[in-house]
Subunit: 146 residues, 2 copies
Amino acid sequence: MTTKATGKQGKGAEERLQELGYRLTPQRSMVLSAIEGSPDHISTEEIYEQVKAKYPNVNISTVYRTLELLRELGMVTQTDLGEGRVRYHPAERGHHHHLICSRCGRIFELDESLLYPLKEALLREYGFMADLRHLAIFGRCRDCQG
Amino acid sequence: MTTKATGKQGKGAEERLQELGYRLTPQRSMVLSAIEGSPDHISTEEIYEQVKAKYPNVNISTVYRTLELLRELGMVTQTDLGEGRVRYHPAERGHHHHLICSRCGRIFELDESLLYPLKEALLREYGFMADLRHLAIFGRCRDCQG
DNA sequence: TTGCGTGCAAACGGTTTGCAGGAAC
DNA sequence: GTTCCTGCAAACCGTTTGCACGCAA
């Protein structure tokens, strides 16, 4: 199979894989485009289902192995939303955070700037350099209070 | 087996169980005292090991069931430190948070007051009532930077 | 042609469940 | 005596691994 553009970011990521000496397989392409095509964070299972729709013989272990590779290379980022499983998004989509409503389950994205004061305070008070890329905050959303 | 004091907090929790109509079994007593006797957060496996030392026939499923009950009743609190397993501490031990060094693995406790500004900002900007009891922040500790 | 990447199947670790027997009340 | 709780064993779910084959380079 030849490399083909799968979306705005797709080609860049695929080329990067090859430049680093990794083989560009259809499975890897499809995992990449599933992640890049997802508006929000996507789980391994969801990626697997999406890839399987086009390519029914994929095995979920291949998806796991691909995700592990992409994570090592810093091309995708993991987020643990406390579901007992991890979710992925493209690394270049930037740092953002999650407000998870523990009643309705909705997930809201939170701008990073709100966390700067906390980050500074942690460094100042504890000498701790917080990596705030994976933050999930639980609580009640506007509609679910009271 | 008769109820016996297992520590400063033990008796209160055991009595509360009985008041609510639950049976006070040795297994439940021992799970409670394992949690209350632990200086920091304790995992299910660690609780199980501790109980088994005194009472070798306990089954880990009993530990899981007891922890689920205590959690439902609000007597213990879960914390997800991103280890793929959950840790417990007594609910009355109050709210506190964790700074987890992703290099050396050490866990530092963080005073809740540092989070008040964030909590206020979330409410003001997003109408989101954050429940900051379960927060885990990853990063590099003072000794592991650079 | 070479060896990396894959599909398959089995194993893993933490957790949950159905059941029958035993203990708390 | 009744009912709840337990131990046991098996199932569960997400994830990882060993192996031999096949495809990207």
